[in-house]
Symmetry: C2
């Protein structure tokens, strides 16, 4: 019998205001899930986090932001997802372990008793469909403040409780690709880089986006513009351009009606935005697509961390 | 915009007696799911298969068994699983794509109307809990013939319908680790190698194994011996030893009561069986453990294929 190298000791207790729900050794690091009360959202939220092996071995830790601080990639998931889909299916932790990157994976909407839900249980509104906006319309405005949660509250919580510095990237899939692009484009100094898989790239021109924005933001389409990646690229200043990577499958069933990648490509060309956007032949909208190319995305962000 | 390299064209039709349920590009190969009628089990069965990119590009294909034939690894899953758990969570396809290996992932029991189920819906008997035996006792004996299905019917079906030769390995997790070990030890000339994660290594000494064997095989414990990896190792002939790899997490909640790896280790030592068995510190029974070490297992089988 052989004995493998040791995985870090399991933390069994809670950290500060975080309740530890689960902890698993994974690629010599730890995959953990926590619950906390979000002031921004007014409800309890779960998130998952992957801590790479170097987080437990300071002598091997990189120094991105002071001693022993790690860079983090925030992953925003798509419609109907929780933090568990990416955690279980994307296979990203292997490369995160290799590169010494923390992965932070939030839920896609507020949840729980008293949180507004779609009256007809639609998958594209309400629970699991927060669209990463700050809702202004009743009944959504009480809890649906996902933009502020992702931009401010969650990073502060992570950076206070884990060995994570303020070197951040953001990425996501579909609705989460929309969220990642919008959040990075509006906060270019908070993120070293942004990437997306199959993003809802021009939501004001898609039925998913128009439905969500009407409910969350109201009928005045001027209020939608700050949540549309294509419009944000069109009005971007060159001094605020950041490294931007997008992969899109050409067999994606949502590409023509909902995703509108061609609008994003045109906006990048018009604004001379140096995005790297690749059409992947034969790939669809599933996590099989994400798992194929997630390593590329992590390496892209890792390069940006070093130049940030 | 860039254009990625092409993934193989999707097959939309059915193959022979196989009904195609789904097909996704994955690491430049195809992840597919099929349904077929199993004569051995007397019911319809699903299986998943991963076909690596070289399967669609004959000039790059290895020649393990005549032109364009690929070696296959059969993966047997654990209690409560279907073919989807490994397909979605283990991340094995990345290495299978690199090495040119087909992955064949069957279900864990017969299913469907008329198939006997546990009267109290227990997770460890009946549906999802076939234990890879040929049941001899009513009501199980009518459909629960998983041993013959895995050893004979499924490989014949795969080898008739896909570019797969008769170079095979077998692997699995927990109940499926038990199945893989038993099947390879009893058929050492049909498999180039065998591996397991967290196997039920001595089922006659575990409550999972004793319950299943009592129901499926009856009260005569002599009839259980052919389904116990530790006993099969003890009585193995050196000329029939095959490459054998096992990984076991030392934080596995089922290790002391159900898995009994120490019995397998002792049997290998007594029989001078050259198994490579590694205790992995901190790892538990989950797919996070499997995904961490599955690449090692695929490379182990790949080496065995070349020496077979």
């Amino acid at each position: 019998m052989q004995r493998g190298i040791a995985c870090p000791a399991q933390k069994t207790g809670d950290i500060a205001i975080l309740k530890l729900l689960s902890s698993h050794c994974l690629f010599e690091g730890l995959q953990q899930r926590y619950r906390h009360y979000s002031r921004t959202l007014g409800c309890e939220m779960n998130f998952s986090i992957y801590l790479p092996p170097t987080a437990f071995n300071p002598s091997r830790a990189p120094r991105m932001d002071g001693p022993g601080k790690f860079p983090a990639i925030y992953w925003l998931s798509g419609l109907t997802c929780t933090d568990e889909n990416f955690t279980l299916k994307a296979g990203a932790q292997r490369t995160a372990a290799e590169l010494g990157i923390v992965l932070v994976i939030p839920d896609t909407s507020p949840r729980g008793e008293g949180v507004a839900a779609s009256p007809d249980a639609a998958y594209d509104l309400g629970l699991g469909a927060g669209f990463y906006v700050n809702a202004t319309q009743a009944p959504w405005s009480r809890n649906y403040q996902m933009y502020d949660y992702i931009v401010d509250e969650l990073p502060a919580l992570i950076e206070q409780n884990f060995a994570v510095g303020d070197v951040r990237a953001i990425s996501g899939h579909s609705m989460g690709g929309h969220g990642a692009l919008v959040i990075a484009l509006r906060n270019p100094r908070r993120y070293s880089s942004v990437s997306a898989f199959s993003p809802i790239a021009n939501p004001i021109a898609s039925s998913w986006g128009r439905k969500a924005f009407t409910h969350y933001l109201g009928n005045d389409e001027k209020c939608w513009q700050n949540y549309d990646a294509t419009l944000l690229i069109e009005s971007s200043r060159p001094s605020e351009h950041l490294p931007l990577l997008v992969d899109q499958g050409d067999a994606d069933e949502f590409l023509p009606g909902q995703l509108k990648i061609e609008r994003l490509i045109a906006a990048c060309e018009a604004a001379n935005y140096g995005a790297r956007i690749t059409m992947r032949q034969g790939y669809d909208h599933s996590y099989f697509f994400i798992s194929t190319f997630i390593e590329n995305h992590l390496r892209f962000h890792h390069n940006a961390f070093r130049n940030f």
